[in-house]
Amino acid sequence: MSITRIKPQHFAGVMALLIVAGFLLPHVANRGIVFLGGVVAINMVFGIAFNIAFQKAGILSFGNAMFFATGAYATGYMITQVPQIPFLLMIALSGLAGALLALITGLLALRRSSGVYFAVITLAVGELIHVLITKMDFLGRNDGMVGVFRPTLDFAVFQIDLSQGDSYYYFIILSCAVLISILWVLWSNRFGRALQTVKSDPMRADFLGTDINRKRLQALVLSGAATALAGALFAPWAQIVTPDLAHWSQSTMPLLFALLGGTAFFFGPVVGAVLFSVLEYNTRTLVGISDLMVGGLLLAVVLAVPGGVLGLLKSVIARKPAKSLVRKEKNP
């Protein structure tokens, strides 16, 4: 087990808690909170997808919003224009679109740049995508795409109408649980460890036969695909897709989730996404100073607790046994 890996039983326990909490939410909260719950679940995937490239492979991308928007627009377009395509296939195709965009971005930029330079290139490509979206008639230009309805899942022998009640919310919870589980496997297995070596010592990884450029590209494509899948889930949830999804400011969101929760932890972006939403929800009525408060609090957390909330918890837990041992020694 690597130091960044969570034991399978711990992972299963946390996932069970998240799924149960997700399933209980519609029974205890109003529709606004339930909508927010769906967004938080999607943001968890958004954050982990970013962090797997950032923390594991050392790829800092400021353009992840373009992958999210690609998934959202692809699903939105298919639902409104070619609704005969099965919904699960739409989601898969949206993920593929995100993977393809990540592949093109990676092939263009990853071999020629790294670190901040790569981040700036992704920022530029992201803005290019944002501008392109606003110029294309079939994507609704600045108005975006409206009428993205929640479709029906057709399994031949039975159907599930996702437009009824909270069906689509439960679909989001289960889909995000599956995506998070897949990302956890990739974070923890040999592929994830190889990414870790590429980040921590690229020259050594190269000496060991690892094609570091290919591994970085794979990490970016994985991140792009997972982010686009999150975007694909988001489109029917919001029922509207606008160019704001591709705006550069959206690319800061997964970074904030990861920093707030702790980039070194698989569940860091999960904690960050929850805390960020709680902060945003509770300051929503403070018109004008809401963004300032959220930004200020985040800055404070990042500066005061560089390891994020989970990093802080870990250090507190690590200190406790030491103190109790000292007490025992003093009072045998």
């Binding site: 870790q196 070596t197 020259m203 190269d206 000496f207």
Partner: protein, 234 residues
């Protein structure tokens, strides 16, 4: 197995290696001796296209080495255990060793972790420790195990005895000799420790300021007593 002809290596404008010629047969073990800065590590990195710019001809087996990147050369069967070991601190020893299997050649499966432990028994009790929990000697053993798991045809050890206690150096010497015997593997050892190099290799090349100033057997080296004073004593 390895032929190097008129190899020159450069870091930027600095000319580090000057016309190196070297031959290594299958199953043979050679030492590269020289003071700090003689060009020993640069030579190993040049073989792997790792850092310096090179001119000259290099051949490994049937393969001419020209533009292949480092990982491709490694996958031909050339494995370098660098001077600073570079154990990944946040991976366990078993996982560190497992990372070396990316260098396995298509035609030959890598060793299993158990087979590596058979070759390097000292590594066995360490498998579940993290990289940051190892002593210098343990790190060296793990670095060798990691370089060995892909069954390389050529194992290159850059100053393996540096910084190790004498008792560990003796164990390391036995280990390297065991590895030499296993599957007739070729070995290049760069060293400043003459005794260690003598125990683990068949013959030697002596480097000074990037040039080969002597090559021959250990007997021939011993007959030229002034070589040590001129090229190895600080």
């Amino acid at each position: 197995m390895l032929e190097v002809r008129d190899l020159n290596a450069f870091y930027g404008q600095s000319h580090i290696l000057h016309g190196i010629n070297l031959d290594l047969a299958e199953g043979e073990s050679i030492a590269l001796l020289g003071r700090n800065g003689a060009g020993k590590s640069t030579f190993l990195k040049a073989l792997l296209n790792a850092d310096p710019r090179t001119e000259g001809a290099m051949r490994f087996g049937a393969q001419t080495l020209d533009t292949q990147p480092t990982h491709t050369r490694t996958r031909l069967g050339m494995s370098l255990v660098p001077e600073d070991r570079r154990i990944f601190p946040k991976l366990t020893v078993a996982q560190n060793i497992e990372m070396g299997a990316f260098a396995a050649r298509e035609e030959q499966k890598p060793y299993t972790i158990a087979e590596v432990v058979d070759l390097l028994p000292m590594v066995g009790p360490l498998l579940n420790r993290f990289g940051y929990q190892l002593s210098g000697g343990q790190q060296q053993m793990v670095a060798i195990a990691r370089g060995l798991i892909a069954r390389p045809r050529l194992l290159m050890l850059d100053e393996p005895a540096e910084g190790l206690a004498p008792v560990i150096v003796d164990e390391l010497s036995d280990t390297i000799n065991a590895i030499r015997k296993a599957e007739g593997r070729s070995i290049v050892v760069t060293e400043q420790n003459i005794d260690f190099a003598r125990q683990t290799t068949d013959r030697l090349y002596l480097l000074d300021v990037g040039s080969v100033v002597f090559s021959g057997t250990w007997e021939e080296f011993s007959r030229n007593a002034d070589l040590v004073d001129r090229y190895l004593v600080l």
